[in-house]
Symmetry: C2
Subunit: 354 residues, 2 copies
Amino acid sequence: MPDRATIDMESWVCPAPLRGVPNIVMGHGGGGAMTGELIEHLFLPAFGPAADSQLSDSAVLAVGEVRLAFSTDSFVVKPTTFPGGTIGDLAVNGTVNDLAMSGAAPLAMSTAFILEEGFRLDELAPIAEAMGAAASAAGVKLVTGDTKVVDMGHGDGVYLNTSGIGVLDRHTDIRPQRASVGDAVIVSGDIGEHGIAVMSCRDGLEFATAVTSDTAPLHGLVAAMLGTGVDLHALRDPTRGGVAAALNEIARTAGVGIELVERALPIPAAVRDACGLLGLDPLYVANEGKLLAVVPADDADQILEAMRDHPLGAQATVIGHCVADHPGMLVTRTALGGTRVVDLPIGEQLPRIC
Amino acid sequence: MPDRATIDMESWVCPAPLRGVPNIVMGHGGGGAMTGELIEHLFLPAFGPAADSQLSDSAVLAVGEVRLAFSTDSFVVKPTTFPGGTIGDLAVNGTVNDLAMSGAAPLAMSTAFILEEGFRLDELAPIAEAMGAAASAAGVKLVTGDTKVVDMGHGDGVYLNTSGIGVLDRHTDIRPQRASVGDAVIVSGDIGEHGIAVMSCRDGLEFATAVTSDTAPLHGLVAAMLGTGVDLHALRDPTRGGVAAALNEIARTAGVGIELVERALPIPAAVRDACGLLGLDPLYVANEGKLLAVVPADDADQILEAMRDHPLGAQATVIGHCVADHPGMLVTRTALGGTRVVDLPIGEQLPRIC
């Protein structure tokens, strides 16, 4: 095994593909710029013509008259149980949400376990039970699976992959590319809870907080939003990399600027406190039961009303707009009227949490 | 981490669920009886009503007029490169083959990487290239993906999950349950190559052999077999646990006996030699480019002809039949006319190889 690669992020200026790093570093899994570079400069060229589009979180396929969404996600969270959830419900809800963000109703899910030799069955059972309960709650069937075991000392007890198939209405067309200047940006509720909950119980980082993970399946909320008949332009669940990563991606993909009103951001006091303690920006902290919606400004009130009628959207609120200025960039406008650029995270701002 | 569980397989007699073992052991990932017990006694009860049928290798879903096959597989092979292939082509072909065994044409695939911090990018790139080449060769698109990174010392460089969607003809009905007394059992070619190739280059076990992995996508061979119009009853790719595990599963599921003719088994001399050296039975050694077909005896010649016209079926041959005796059991008939029971493997007979 080669030596650990070290990167001084503060002074790092390397425009070259993959930033000249010869090895995988934690940042490649952070869902930010380094993950994007790995996909763009390694996976896509290597896959060649077999790769379809940009290997995004969820793909839409046409099969005869049927339109399907297809998504995959691996979960390597430590610890596997945290305030408000376990790796099991997280894995089910995460893939349900990836499907829901294209407007699909989840239909079927696969579950693949990579288990570490020596992992206790009485730790595994509650994780599997949480998966079953989450799947039942989301109305999705667990239809096929796989189990592998790796030598003790490798793995981390359990790594989990879920892949999912959802069904799309013929007319649904929700994608980041459709975000347009003037659109309102809505968040479905408080941000930062999942990341803070997981960090509060990580080895070496324990701290007291009342924050619990927001892990939840969002397809019902999306169905309620679709039920309004409003033309939803883009949806994203702000998981790894948080609101910052999700909105940066939408801004870059659509070629619009996005401006958030800092005062409008729903950040619970406990999340704000924990972020202060840890030196983190809540915009970069992961959520697992929230969505960001980009909708025509004139329809924002109608969408908000539908969202607030749903338990998972009760605190929905407009946090900003798409603008013509600074295309591809996310900025927040402060209470004093200044603006601050919120860049795409490079690698891991946080301990790995999803 | 609890102490390592030890099992004396020779003297082990424990009818209780999960054999009283409190921890995950390597055998739970071996694709044999212990994997089956983990699914039956832990995953299925825990998943509850969310679990559909028996969580088999591949599920068939009806969506409107469309019939889909859906499959998932994780790959944790060590080393990641071996004579005849890499974890990359193995992962693509493995999921193509799981889909093909239900008669489906592969349509789209997801790729999820769990990478170890410190893994060299110049080791990762050829693996990704092998995936792209295998997907192109199989005519399947890589449409969605995920990348996670785990701390150095965990993982094993790279773990890989592929999940796949295939499309089934309206009338295709290929499943183990349909194996019937009198049916012929066909194998598409030589057995034992993949397992021996991987073992020949494992740390601490290196030995000289000319055997290379048979990893290959089998959907084209299956399409040629379907093209005959013969009613194929059951198909299986004999991967983990080899021909023994695959045929035991068919026998148990269908409630038939299966009798193989030992002399008819196509075992290359080099595989036989290596198995002799290692004390292994070739029937338990993994294959990654072979299939077993259970077809009406009267149609066996027609199927063999179609198979032999395809490069991956050139050595196809009948190796046995389904019989009314000993339902649920697999036996081989020796050259001297005796029979030998070939049981479902309990756990790992082999180093982990897929």
